[in-house]
């Protein structure tokens, strides 16, 4: 009897969600093909390991940047298009600090200020890196966080707070304006060419069984991102501020009525979201080693994809969505020609949205 119940239950759920079944079969086929390629040697294990490593590192950065975007959305209800440029600004502030500390005395302050884009303080000369100049890197990360916090709070005070009651579309276009102003202010000072920043002589750790190499910068990025994500998790779940933020995300009026100081919560949201964004910008540059005035703007599309895929408003969704997008954009090389990797990441987002229109963690706001 139980077996027949099980089958009829299965039949019902299959009947209800034909799309899900088709997708499940597709995923199964891809996984089987992956195993086949690995065992036949068509895909060396080392290649898959490199794809996964890069996907995860990219995903962590995108996820970290996505948390801030998602928090602002859940508390203030608007998509901040200037988010990518907050990231760039944080990265420039942080790297300027790192260069000033790492190259102090050896180069003029003016040259260090321009982080090798012009002047004598080139990558080779300064050689900033986790192993070579750990204090400069740590200070840079802190300055990136603090500067972006100040920037985002200041922009909120100056611009967004005056538009708090406006429609979403007004805010979206205002944030696009803020994005352009920030980006071209950076371009005005540092120019539009990208520059190499980090030392390439970092220690590497190899997993000898598959020949995978992980360098010190990648480890730093992964550890810092995970620590910051856990910190946000702890904050939201176990502190008074976190509870207040969740309450406000659920129902702003109700939160206000129960005596939660909503203005202070909004400011705290910018502080946390801005800080995480600045950190993401600095860490991304540490990993990729190059920085340009439009780095954050280029990344913004991926960040939005991650946040939407995870369910906009959910920070766990942003983290998980970032990882999924990052890994999809690299592992898809196993099956697809190289021109389609970016497209594959977005196709995955569309498929997830068709199955779960609110995203993976949709409906669970902030927490």
């Amino acid at each position: 009897m139980q077996m027949s119940d099980f089958y009829s239950g299965l039949r019902d759920s299959v009947g209800d969600r034909p799309l899900l079944v088709v997708l499940g079969v597709c995923v199964l086929i891809l996984l089987l093909d992956l195993v086949r390629q690995l065992s036949s040697g068509a895909l060396p294990a080392r290649n898959l390991a490199i794809f996964l490593k890069n996907g995860i590192v990219l995903g962590l950065i995108v996820g970290l940047a996505g948390v801030g975007l998602s928090m602002i959305y859940s508390i203030l209800g608007f998509a901040n298009f200037a988010h990518g440029d907050y990231l760039t600004t944080g990265a420039f502030a942080g790297w300027m600090t790192s260069y000033m500390i790492a190259g102090f005395g050896a180069f003029g302050l003016g040259d260090l200020f321009l982080i090798g884009i012009a002047g004598d303080a080139t990558t080779v000369g300064v050689g900033a890196g986790v192993a070579t100049t750990p204090i400069a890197i740590l200070a840079g990360l802190l300055v990136a966080i603090v500067f972006t916090v100040f920037l985002s709070v200041a922009i909120d005070r100056l611009i967004y707070s005056r538009l708090r009651d406006e429609e979403g579309i007004t805010l979206v276009f205002t944030s696009l304006g803020v994005a352009l102003v920030l980006r071209y202010l950076i371009a005005f000072v540092w120019g539009q060419n990208s520059t190499g920043l980090t030392s390439t002589a970092e220690p590497k750790f190899s997993v000898s069984s598959i020949g995978l190499q992980i360098n010190a910068h990648e480890i730093t990025v992964a550890v810092c991102s995970l620590l910051l994500m856990f910190a946000v998790h702890y904050l939201l779940q176990y502190t008074k501020l976190g509870i207040a933020m969740r309450a406000m995300a659920d129902n702003r009026d109700l939160a206000s009525v129960t005596g939660i100081p909503t203005d202070r919560i909004v400011r705290s949201t910018w502080v946390i979201g801005g800080g995480l964004t600045g950190a993401a910008g600095y860490l991304m540059t540490l990993e990729s080693g190059t920085l340009a005035f439009n780095t954050g703007w280029t990344l913004l599309l991926l960040i939005f994809a991650a946040v939407i895929l995870g369910g906009i408003g959910s920070i766990y969704g942003a983290i998980f969505g970032g990882l999924l997008i990052g890994v999809a954009s690299t592992v898809s090389l196993v099956w697809l020609p190289s021109g389609f990797t970016q497209a594959a990441a977005f196709a995955l987002m569309i498929v997830v949205l068709i199955v779960r229109p609110n995203g993976l963690f949709g409906g669970v706001t902030t927490a």
């Binding site: 080139t122 050689g127 540092w190 390439t200 190059t290 990797t341």
Partner: protein
């Protein structure tokens, strides 16, 4: 200081624009004067090609200065625009040249900007365009014969790289790693056809990625003898950083003009001795005069694409003089007239006299900086000369043998 330079440029632009506005009000229709030869110059002064575009712009305005300094009837009126290496921005820049009645455009540099400007501005308005873009697609594009180019097609470049790989370096298997646009894809495909050996993987990449390691892994998965990279300097920095951080330098790297840039060793921070590349060089009859004039004017050595840029402006100027009108259709009809054989030879040395001769209706034959400049039916030059280059262990760029392809 970059800041100062930008500010100066900004002020100069504002000044130029307002001066132009005033001039427009005062003189009215300039076409009527007949002695003013108008040429618009477009180069990427910012964006991925900015570092190449600035010297190219300097070279492109040089013919006008030479003629204006000489004591002749005609005056050259030149206006410079920035394409930002972006097709959209290039179209607006070209449109502003057309709005200011410029009948011909010298430049731009990249294939994508050239094609957009051709389709959206030059064809509708009958504007002659002399580009420096190198993609083979330029040859066959439907252009109403408005489009010319002074640089050699990458169909020739791909043969030069293949010849270097096959004969100079004895490479038997290779993968390509090319930027995902019309320039990169057509060059990589033309190379794959010309190369005599195994092409293992053809990988394409998008510009502006935070990591290229995964795609490099894919390209190098068959363990090829060499990797052929087609990238601009901007992407090249990031790609080479990823290459040297994760892969063995035993793999030879073949490269094109994009890697031929001192910014590469400054920003990559690795031993680059496994890179060998080819870059286009000027070998035309005017080369020495041009080098001298460029050095006198700007105090620096002319680099890649300066030769082609000079030739582009010079041919458009001469064709304008021969047509005796600031009319795009008339200019394009005179391009072969002034550049191809038969006629008095004109070089960078006697350019002003050449303009006078052309205005008098004499038959002239422009002998360029890049080559002797002879346009075929497609508006292409007929041969390309390239120079082999490599990096020394302390990061200096060195050039070696020349490779000529007809």
């Amino acid at each position: 200081m970059v800041a100062n330079q930008k500010r100066r440029e900004f002020i100069a632009t504002v000044g130029a624009v307002s001066a132009f506005g005033v001039a427009g009000c005062l003189s009215g229709d300039e076409n009527a004067s007949g002695n003013t030869i108008k040429v618009g110059v477009m180069q990427p002064l910012t964006g991925p090609l900015g570092s190449v575009g600035e010297p190219a712009r300097d070279a492109a305005v040089l013919p006008a200065q030479q003629v204006n300094d000489a004591d002749i009837e005609a005056e050259i009126d030149i206006q410079t625009e920035d394409t930002q290496t972006d097709p959209q921005a290039a179209v607006s820049a070209a449109q502003s040249l057309v709005d200011a009645d410029y009948p011909a455009i010298s430049g731009p540099l990249s294939t994508a900007t050239t094609l957009q400007v051709l389709q959206n501005v030059c064809k509708p308005n009958q504007i002659a365009e002399c580009t420096l873009a190198t993609a083979p697609t330029i040859t066959d594009v439907d252009d109403n014969d408005l489009l010319f180019r002074t640089s050699a097609s990458d169909a020739l470049m791909s043969q030069a790289v293949a010849q270097l790989a096959n004969e100079g370096m004895d490479v038997s298997s290779i993968s390509t790693f090319a930027i995902n646009d019309s320039y990169g894809q057509s060059l990589a495909n033309a190379f794959a056809d010309a190369f005599d050996g195994n092409v293992l993987e053809q990988v394409s990449f998008e510009s502006g990625q935070s990591s290229y390691t995964s795609k490099l892994t894919q390209a190098l998965s068959g363990d090829p003898d060499a990797l052929f990279i087609v990238a601009f300097t901007e992407n090249g920095i990031k790609i080479l950083r990823d290459f040297y951080s994760d892969f063995s330098s035993d793999t030879e790297i073949l490269a094109t003009s994009g890697i031929y840039n001192p910014a590469i060793p400054e920003n990559v921070n690795a031993d680059l001795t496994n890179i060998t590349g080819v870059t286009s060089v000027g070998t035309g009859p005017s080369l020495d005069h041009f080098n001298q004039a460029f050095n006198d004017e700007y105090g620096s050595e002319p680099g890649q694409f300066t030769w082609q840029a000079y030739d582009a402006t010079a041919t458009l100027m001469l064709a304008n003089a021969a047509a005796d009108s600031n009319d795009g259709a008339a200019i394009k009809d005179n391009m072969r007239q002034i550049a191809n054989p038969e006629g008095t030879e004109v070089t960078a040395d006697n350019l002003a006299e050449g303009v006078e001769m052309a205005m008098n209706g004499d038959d002239i034959n422009y002998q360029g900086v890049t080559s002797d400049i002879t346009f075929d039916d497609n508006g292409d030059v007929e041969s390309g000369t390239y120079s082999e280059y490599w990096f020394t262990s302390d990061g200096a760029l060195e050039t070696g043998d020349q490779i000529s392809i007809d």
